[in-house]
């Protein structure tokens, strides 16, 4: 997929996504800044695969613009989306040597790619890097555990949780721009597309949200949503 691990000094780190959201070139903790420094920029088009299940987990990725979904498909075709990754998020972190899920760009996306072996080499000498890998894995664990709690809830609760999650992550106030389709949301929440759609309508009718366009949601009454968030 990509051989280079070395630094790319010529690359412009600051990229601008369609909706204007992007990741500043600023360094976070050591692991983050290592990725920023050494990562190679790559672009993926809408619905393009970034890696597939069972492929060797050779790289680590950081979203710079766009959105990525990770998912698994059961043998009968049911798809479960494990997570959506927004600008700033790191994904592809598998502890084994193969990916246990696939990743695709939801919209045209730019990501920084870094070799896992390079990170692990760094981790051997730099204790902070090693700790960062652990922290990152732990955050992911936390996220999946939270997802489990969402999956046992009612449809309204799941959708409310989803909207609150997206609002919190996009930090754009009460207006959310959803980069993913209804089908993606359905597969993330373990519902059908029809149920997701109907639930949006119900929430709109109860004045909890407004839906000016299908990809744009306004949270009108967080209290109602939070109560549903259980």
């Amino acid at each position: 997929m990509l051989n280079q691990t070395r630094l790319h000094p010529a690359v412009t780190r600051q990229t601008v996504a369609r909706n204007g959201r992007t990741v500043p070139p600023v360094a976070g903790h050591p692991l983050e800044s290592a990725i920023e420094m050494m990562g190679a920029p790559m672009s993926f088009g809408r619905n393009e695969e970034i890696f597939g299940e069972n492929e060797p987990a050779e790289y680590l990725y950081k979203v710079m613009s766009g959105t990525v979904r990770t998912y698994k498909v059961l043998n009968d075709g049911r798809r479960q989306i494990g997570a959506f990754y927004l600008p700033g998020d790191i994904f592809g972190l598998d502890v084994g040597d193969e990916h246990t899920y696939s990743a695709e760009a939801i919209a045209d996306s730019k990501v920084l790619v870094i070799k896992r072996s390079a990170v692990e080499r760094l981790a051997n000498s730099d204790h902070e890097i090693a700790h960062g890998m652990w922290t990152l894995t732990g955050r992911e664990l936390q996220r999946v555990q939270d997802h489990v709690m969402v999956l046992i809830k009612t449809a309204q609760e799941r959708v409310a949780s989803f909207l609150l999650e997206m609002a919190a992550r996009s930090r754009t106030g009460n207006e959310i721009e959803l980069p993913m389709s209804r089908q993606d949301i359905a597969d993330y929440l373990g519902l059908t597309i029809e149920t997701v759609s109907r639930t949006f309508t119900q929430l709109e009718n109860s004045a909890a949200i407004a839906v000016p366009s299908s990809r744009r949601i306004v949270l009108r009454n967080r209290a109602v949503l939070s109560r549903l968030n259980a």
Copy 2:
């Protein structure tokens, strides 16, 4: 809960559980052996709490005998069991400084307890220990991801997955001794106790399993169960 971090040379590590399953005092990788060497043995009675959600995550635990469940409760009382831990399993591994779920002994259990700060101190000097923490967290992540895939399946599929999981983990051939109640299984699988019970009956009627007693299951036809495992 426990102050000692020092070694307990006098303690007999080899404990024998009621059903005979136990953990040999042999060391696995460095992290495992550190826990074996430095861990303090503790006993918990049936349904006794080991730690609660939001308590500081000061310790790491290894099951020596018995079984432990971890769970979260939603504000309306719904309980989701996140995992069952059998002899040999390590639990209590939270990356943040507070537990994000509670843990209870399902049956009378013996666990080794070690201070997290002690492990982290070791990890600072011993690179293998640090790597072990990461691996362990990654395994847990993998486990929760698999759990998500179970939660989107039908009742029959969930129960079949559960039985195959338990059979694989207890490594006791086709006979499984279930340490947990139907309610525990239901709360693990996101079903009701009635549905779990009915599903057992269905699987028995289709000759996939036998249920000589309610806590004892015999896998009669793994092909059928595996097909359900999707």
